[in-house]
Symmetry: C2
Subunit: 380 residues, 2 copies
């Protein structure tokens, strides 16, 4: 038997290859385009929640265009716009500023998108687009103080070296932060050149990226090459077209900013290859995982072993100095033969918690519906 | 608008969660199960073909079950069965043997599966499940010589510490090699403890894995814990049920072994985020990529810029001492406005080449149909 490979359409213009955002039709399966993104990018294999700090190859990755190849020895960061003294810093100059290290949990704003109905067509995450790393670099406010912020400045615009087309707009990847966030001390925004004590890997922004603790991943501009202070709010594609909470394509929407609370569980036992359903033996075991929020400290994690009918409070690891990193939690469970749906939900000090039913938005952003882990308990 | 999350069925037994292999129905989209595999595992982002040696986080990964967490200081490799002196080696003992390093291109046997019609339901690779690394370790034949191979031995069976269920069969991941392959000098099978000069990352088999140059990835057993020489051929799941070329589920099939030739191109220009279609400017540019075969050295790479109507021979990098690693190739191309479908095909010294139309098999193994890269050339 022969099988043809997929047909390639013949695009005639940018509009043919770069179409407006859309949601999938009822019953429409994941397309080859979504699959191509899922094959290049990747989430955290959930068993890797056991690491306090995620090894680089297991930390989630979402690259909009291609990873650019940058020569660290030729790289320069410019700081300009509404500053008194524009800067042009090479890596040695950047490293000459006092360095700090922050442990930060990062999550893609589109995490959970593929579980929505109707499904926004984009990177099809289920639940795993997260990771935690130790980022070392220079506080952004140190660089801005060095350049001297003019009173007229209201935002800092960050430009990466990654270049592509999105919904018909050719662009370098660019995002902004309000000046108050850019200058904040907690969380402190970093211009980072090390991940877990080593130079940034290519896929995490080599040689330099922005790290914005508490914010979804779109704010952490990779392959950073320019910071421009502006006297009007930035209206670029990734700020005003993409990364907005919207119900319809016509509305302005509200910006995607900080990470909503979420708890994830290390799936217990062992999996079936294809269904990923878990198998455990009868008897006592420990449920454990991580919980985080970019809005306020996590104050409570609850666990349910009966698909959300009843909840029990898990034990949270003590708060430590890593206030922008996930926290470990654990809870005892005695597995009895049968099928169980396990879930956990996090609540933060701002009173936000995780929904069981996810409110829908057109971009599929900020989803934090509880994870559901189906477990079959069988005697050996 | 609210959206429900996916329903979780209630499995009653292992047979409910671990079903026979199947192919998708006509028009059946990628399922959440396939997507869960695509989100955990990942391919090589094709722009990373520019690296001679793939950084670990960009090298493809396919994990059948969960990554086990192994304590390197407590790890032991046993060598037993049809040997004169069974061995139990800790990491220090393994490192005490003379080490060698081989640069090896590894590819998943299921690469290309999701491009088949009908689609075998499994990890849905398109074309990107490949990577190249420098693996350091002890030649397997050194260890087998140390143990003393009995004349009755015919195969070596390798057991990993990864445990799960697959099509109803609970198992540790296990594969075998014929003794002749296990003892060969070229390619030389490695018991490897370093990747690119560093300890193996968790997802690549920490602390020790098998590396079988020239073979598809299923042979390179990760998290290796036991080697047993047997006097009959191994009939375990991964040898006789999975990883066979078959047209129907009932036939015995033939084993999946060595990597078929393939060339991949670094997609030129820059992409559209969603369609991944490429955009280039008019003018001369260099097409380049990598080519490999696990059967014999690559002898020729041809490039077509008109969807396979005409072909031109690319320049292959000179053969070097890395005979089991991919080779760089390049070819000039002058882009003119319009749409172009670029492709490349590799031929090896055994006379094998890449098909334009892929012969189908039920597991979706050994696909090496040519990659097709659609490029829109537009003036700035």
């Amino acid at each position: 038997m022969d099988s043809r490979t997929e047909q390639v359409d013949t695009p005639r213009s940018l509009d043919d290859i770069s179409t407006p955002g859309r949601v999938a039709d009822p019953g429409e399966g994941i397309s080859h385009e979504e699959l191509a993104l899922a094959a290049r990018n990747h989430g955290l294999p959930l068993e890797a929640l056991r690491y306090d700090v995620t090894p680089p190859g297991l930390h989630y990755i979402l690259t909009h265009y291609d990873m650019p190849v940058l020569d660290a020895s030729a790289w320069t960061l410019t700081v300009r716009g509404r500053v008194r003294t524009p800067l042009a810093l090479d890596l040695a100059a950047l490293r000459s500023f006092p360095a700090v290290t922050h442990r930060v949990t990062m999550e893609c704003a589109g995490n959970g998108r593929a579980r929505l109905t109707p499904r926004p067509v984009s990177q099809p995450w289920l639940v795993e687009a997260v990771g935690t790393a130790d980022w070392t670099g220079v506080p952004l406010r140190t660089l801005l103080a060095e350049a001297g912020v003019e009173p007229a400045a209201v935002e800092a615009v960050f430009t990466g070296a990654d270049h592509g087309v999105e919904r018909g707009v050719e662009q370098d990847y660019e995002r902004s932060l309000p000046l108050a966030d850019a200058m904040a001390t907690d969380p402190e925004v970093l211009v980072a050149y090390e991940m877990n004590g080593a130079p940034l890997p290519p896929q995490h922004g080599h040689p330099v990226r922005l790290v914005v603790p508490g914010w979804y991943g779109m704010a952490h501009v990779k392959w950073l090459r320019d910071i421009t202070l502006t006297d009007t709010p930035f209206t670029g594609f990734q700020q005003t077209v993409a990364y907005r909470y919207r119900q319809s394509p016509d509305e302005m929407g509200t910006p995607v900013t900080r990470i909503a609370p979420r708890a994830l569980m290390i799936p217990p036992g062992f999996p079936d290859f294809m269904s990923r359903t878990r198998v455990v033996r009868p008897g006592p075991l420990r449920l454990e995982g991580r919980a985080w929020s970019g809005r306020a400290p996590v104050t409570k994690v609850e666990v349910s072993t009966d698909d959300g009918h009843t909840w029990h409070e898990a034990e949270l690891a003590p708060a430590d100095r890593h206030s922008w990193s996930w926290r470990h939690w654990h809870a005892p469970w005695t597995a009895v033969p049968g099928t169980h749906v396990l879930t956990a939900r996090a609540t933060d000090a701002a009173g936000d918690t995780q929904p069981v039913t996810q409110p829908w938005n057109r971009g599929g952003f900020g989803n934090n519906a509880v994870q559901r882990v189906t477990v079959l308990c069988e005697p050996q």
